[in-house]
Every structure is written in C-alpha cells, then in structure tokens.
Amino acid sequence: MSYAELSTHLVWAALTVLTISMIAFLVDLTRLGESRRELASVARLGTRRKELVGVGAASDDVASSLAAATPGASGAGGPAAGADERPANRRAAGIGMSTATLGWLLLLAAIVTRGIAAGRTPWANMYEFTLVGSFVALTVFLLVSRFRDIRWLGAFVTFLDVIFLALAQEVFFVQADGVQPALQSYWLVIHVGVAISAAGILTVAFLTSVLQLLRDSRDNGSAVLNHRAFRWLDALPTPGQLETLSFRLNAVGFVLWTFTLIAGSIWAEHAWGRYWGWDPKEVWTFIVWVVYAGYLHARTTRGWSGRRAAYFVIVGYACVLFNFTGVNLIFDGKHSYSGLTS
C-alpha cells in the first residue's frame, strides 16, 4: 500500500472514530440535561438577571457559585452547591474524549503520510486544507480541554469535523502530487499554515458563540429553546462564560488572520509582483478581517456587547467558510488552488 492510499484510509478511520466520539458526547449531553434539570432551573433564575447585562459584567457570588455547581461549568472538583445534586454519569464524555484523541492521532498520521506521499507540505489544495483545518479545530478543543473542562463542546467540534472530513473525502479529493511553481515557496508553509490554523481556531470560537446565543435565548425564555429537547443547554456554562471563551479564541484567531493577511501580501509581492491586487481571495480575506475587527469593536461598544457581538462571530465565520469554499470553487482568481477541474 502506498503512502497516498494509507493516508486516505487513515482519514476514513479518523472519520469513523470521530463519529463514535460525537455519539458519545451527544449521549453525555443528554444525560447532563436530564440530571441537571432541577438544579439548572434554579441556577438560571439566579444568573438571568446578571447575564442580561452582557459580557464582562460577570455574575455576583451567588450566581457564579450556582453556575460553578453545574457540571458543565465546574471542574472535576467543583464545589457541590446543594444536597439535591446528583453527580451526572460522565462516562460517555470520557469515551468521547478518548475517541476524540484517537481520531486526532489518526488524522495526524493521515496528514503526515499525505505529506510524505506528495513530497511537500501537506496543505496545498482544498482537500488538504480541509484535513488540516479539521485537525486544527480538534487540536484546539483537545488543547483547551487540558486546562478547562469544555467536554460539552465535544459533540459540536466532532460533528463539524465529521462533516468536513466527509466533504473532503467525497468532494474535494485530489491525488497527492507536487505543486506548480507559484506555490513552491516557504510561504506556503507559513501563510497557508497560519491561515488554516486561524480557520480551525475560529471554528471552535464560532461553535462557542452559537452555544452562547442558544443558552442565552433559553435563559431568556425563548419558546423553542425551552423545549425538553434543549435541556442539555442548562448543563453548559453561562452565556457570559461562553462569551469569554469565544472571545479568547477569536482574539487568537484574529491575530493569526492578520498575520495571514500580511504573510499573504509578502508572498504575493514575491510571486505575482504586487502585494495587494483585490483578487477574490484577497477581497474575502479582507472582508473576514473587517468583520472580525467589527466584532472586537462591538464587544467594547455600549449596547453591542453580548448577543450582538456574537452575531458578528456567526457572520465572520460564514465569511471564513465562503472564503474557503465559494471563492475557491466559484470565482476565477489567482488563488484557484482547489486542484479540482470543473
């Protein structure tokens, strides 16, 4: 079996393992939702008033201790708030974490073997971007998990990864091969590598912001989200805590995106003789940058922090996805490196 074939098989294996991981995380969320029902409704009353205020204005002592008592928010050693609390069975989350780690290892092996097969950095076409982007998103999740208990996020990260990997295998796949002269540069490693890392980080931040909005809507009495099916939302951290996590990731993502832009300009100057030419990819990279800049400004603008700022994250991530898919496939520009012939 050649390295190229091995790589493809490894991606399928990772996809399968991550599907199992996703199911385990979903089971965990359901269990959390059931066991947290009563306590969470109390916690919600306590936090609602404060979370309405928005981002940085965190809860007072009562609210935060209640929030800390919900298992999603507290660490393994979180203080017990009331006698009523039944510790949820988190075995499914454990299975989710270990399978996610296994999936991560398989994906890493797939990317490395792909690189060996092609004899270059394994991120030069759309198929490889998707593999590495999914890998980075998973890495961010596992990395943050080492410091904070964010197992509640597992189901969503693995879900997106499964979708991305399936798309990669079925739609974006191209044979492992060398690259054209314009791509033969160390900037491929730097510019594209950082761009994909930023996209991976922004993916996790996007998920966190979506959950923030859902949880916030539920807390504020949204009819749809107060359905039984959304009980698991109570097991999540408070919207304020989710916003904080999302902001941290977005801040890192934004700095990396800025670097992508600068590195891209330097490379464009080397390869095409101009640092900026409003090529469709450049336009959309610029749009993404402006939207996330808007997000950072919204966070510090009175009346725009909290929910409204989170909408920026959603729009920004939609632009990231479009920049990655739409621009590669629809527009004819200098960044047409999908490797797919239409």
Binding site: G77, Q180, P181, Q241, L245, T258, F259, H297, T301
Partner: protein, 594 residues
Amino acid sequence: MTETDKTVERDETRRGYRPEGIDDAFVAHDDDAPAGGDGGKGSGRSAGADGAPPVMPRLGWRGTLRWMWRQLTSMRVALMLLMLLAVAAVPGSILPQQSIDPSAVTQYLQDNPTAGKILDKLGFFDVFSSVWFSAIYILLFVSLVGCIVPRALAHTKALRQRPPKTPVRFTRFPAKAHATTDTEPDAVVAAAVRHLRGPVRWLPTFRVETGTDAQGRRTVAAERGYLRETGNILFHLCLLGLLVAVGTGQVLHYRAQVIVTEGHGFANSVVDYDTFESGAFWRASSLDPFSMTLDKFTSEFTTTATAEPRNFTAFVTVRQPGAPAKAEKIRVNHPLDVGGAKVYLQGNGYAPDITVKDAKGEVAYSGPVVFIPQDTNYTSQGVVKVPDVSAGLDQIGLVGFLLPTAASDDPTQASIYPQPLNPMLVLNVWHGNLGLDDGTPQNVYRLDTSDMTESTKDGKPVTLTIQPGKTVKLPDGMGTVTFNSLPRYVALDLRYDPALTWILVFALGALLGLALSLFTPRRRVWLRVWTEDVRDDESGETRPRTVIDAAGLARGDDSGLQREVDGAVASAAGRAPDDAPTTASPTLPRKAPR
C-alpha cells in the same frame, strides 16, 4: 527610592479620553462600585449615562459641527462604517473588475447591456477606486483619527500617573484574597512590591505605589497593562501609516512589462517596454540604467496527462554601467533585484524563428514571432505579418498555431504536451494589404483581414504544416516559409515601489500592536497590611499576627485576575502561590489538578 513615605500628587479623576459609546473601562460587578479608580462608571462618558432622559440642547452651527464630529468619532459609527466596508467589498469579488480583468468587464457589458451600463456608471466594475468605497474608508480613517489621537494624548498622560489609591472597602471587588502571617508588615509590603514589580527592572509588570491609610494600615496599590492601550494606539496609528505608505507608493511607483526572446534583450528605458505605467510623481530620469539579455529559458512539467508545471527558470545576463556583466536567474517566487526594481517572471511561451521569402526570392521577413499559449499544453496562436515584400507584390499574412508536441500530422489537433517534443507550425495564408502603412496602431497578435484574401485550393483554405528546419512553398507562387528554430520567450514584469519597506514596517507594527492590545491583561491590585490579634486555629491561643487583605479589578473579563491576586498575597505572606485559596471566578473555572 523608598516607597513608604512618598507622597504623590494624584489626579483622582483620571479622565482618560473615551470616544462616544466605548465600553471598556474597569468594571466592578455592582452599582455601588468601590471608591478609587474610575470604578463602575466609565469616566469621560457624555451626559445621559446616568439614565436620565436626554434633553436636547439648542445647538448653534458650531454645536452642530461638534455634534457631528462626536458622532463620526463614536464607536457606534465606527462599527457601522466597518460593517459597510465589509459589505461594499463584496461586489468587488462577484463582478469582474477593470483593474484585474478588463476583457471580462467588456464581456459582461456585452452580455448585460442594460444592467451593465448602470453598474458601470455606479463604479461597480472598479469597486476599490469607486467614490462610495473610497468614501467609506476615508470616513473610517477620519473616525479613526478623531478617536485615536485624543486617546493617544490621554494615554501619554495616563502613562505618567500613579496607580489609583487603595479603596476603603474591598468587599465588592470581583477578586479577593486574605492571609495571615508572622512576617513583619514592612517585610510583607516589600515582598508584595517585589512580586508585583516582577523580575525586569526597566519594564515592571505592575506599577506599584505604597502608602499608609487613615488607620495606620499599610497599603499597596498596583496597576498593570498600560501596554494594552499602547498596543491599541500603535495598531491604529500603524493602520494610518499603512494607508499613507500605500498612497505614497502609488504616486512614486512604476511598472513595466516586456517580452524577451532567447538571445535578445532590453534596456531599462520607457521606449524599450511593451507597456509602461507610473505614478503621478514618478520621473523618467529616475530610471537606473541597465540592460538585460535572456540567455536561456528552461521549464519542467510532470509527465502525467495533465502536464503540470513544476519549474520555470529564466537565465539572464544583466549589464550595468561600470560593472562587469552578471549572470542571474529569475524564477517564479524568486524575482531579481536590479536597479532598485524587481523583475518578475510572469509568463513564457514559444517564439518560432521564421524566414519568409517573397516571390522574387528576397528575404521579406526573418526573426522570431511570439505565439501566445492558449492551453496548458502550449497550443499557441500567432500571426506573422510580412509587409516588406518586393515592390509590386501583395503583402503576406500568416495566421495559425504552434504545436510544441503535435500528436499526428492532423493540423486541427491541439498540442499534447508543453515541451517541444514534436514541434509543428500550422499556418493559413493571406495576401493583400496588411493595413500597416497608414500608421494606425495594430494588435500584433491579430491579422486585420479587411483588405486581404485567404489563399484557397479547391475552395478550401490552404493549411501549411511546417516542422523545424523545413521550408515549404507558399501557395500561388508567393514564395517560401522556413521554420528555422524554436526559441522560447519570457514575459517579464518590472516593479518599482519605494514604499514597500514602509508598508511592511507598518503592517508588522499593526500586528504587534494588535497582539499587545488583545493579550495584555489590564489589572489593578490593592493590598492592605496590618497587625492584629488573631486566634491560632491549632493552638487556640490569640497572638498578634500580620493580616493581609487584597482585592483585584480588571478591565473587561479576566480569568487570570483571581490568580494574580492570590499570587500577590501568597508572595507577600512568603508562601508559594499554589496553596492560596481560590474563589469563584467569572470565567470558566480551571480544571482541578489531577
């Protein structure tokens, strides 16, 4: 210097500049915010922040201007402009753009005559230099200047200020810590100061101020994170610098394009280039004298059916006055620096060397003719115009294709590989008047057939197929064509932009400022230290001990605040920071150590 009895005059109001609507002050978590610092209510906010219904004052024209300026520099308007900028950029990617692909614009105008005309009027085919796009970014930059300049001035003042004095009560702060120790208060204070300042003398982590309060208790007030605002200002000023640098480059740059065949060259002068454009303030006298010859061009392709390019290299000789000729290489991604400009390898192709002899046997044309590649296998199209025939004869025009690798003798097939494995010229013959004599400029890659006749045989156009080294006869005894050899040509792009270095400097400055402003924590920490009779938990006896009380406040959310306060107290008490008690933080709790 001694910290103990130093009295510093402080501006207690600390009115830093805040644009309208900005919300990133130090915030405590309750309305009855602690005294000291700028507390719960952001300083510098305009009237109406107290919730009273706004009363519209009568504004004169100066007042109106002032109001408009305040609106423009407000956060909300900046936010709107940012969103507008993002939206306004979208059509630039969807519609063809004049600056990128003019032929696509022409095509679009032909396909959509009505809509195209309107869009063209509104500047949608030149979005990034359109009035409305420019208006948005200029307003955005005006807003930026109006916001950042006062903030920069306020920050330079704030940089000289001392930390806000220790509040009377610590109860309402988001982060608190408490400890008792047997160390003397003086030593405790000294240890706390040492810890807060950090190891780097010239760049202390915290700016620290010590004192004594009304009850004679020792106090330590500390503030860190001035770099946050410094970074913020640096970022925005660098964006401004970037705009100026790009604009400067625009007026001083030049760009030239030239096609060079193997064995030929060009000199660095405007007349030698095929196209040349320059900025408004560029002067031809600033061109560095040099000349360049293309010695050889090599290319590599994969041997797969798709024949993907793997390497292009142009070997050139550069001659500059007063220096020996120098052999250089130009490759994609590796432009050549010469005479202050950069030379890029932008394209390549074949320029078959052809000799045409007319009916009288005189050489009417001889030399390489540039053929433009039409596909990835370099099936190239070209025109040979032969005006200089002997007197009395028709001018000759040859139109056709060059196939680097012809699959068969069938002249209708395209090339099957980009390298010249089996080169073949496929030409149709025209005769008549080329239309060159009246001096009207013509496209060299197109034959004007309005005054010409195509040679036919049995009602079908004559097609000549010629291999290198071969000579074929032109129809109707017009003469002969010889395909001498197949040299290659390169398309070179020369760029000169003196602002490049500045653009890079400002871009990197913006990146640095951004990182500083996003990742520098902005925190205030206060400690109060006094001696008090404390009952010992173990022995049960009561004895005088040193009590440390601490509080922390951050700008925005800050998960590290509690750890910072705990660390300060632990160091003050002479303990390792790890065994300090931790209270709930407003951010996600850290995982418990396993």
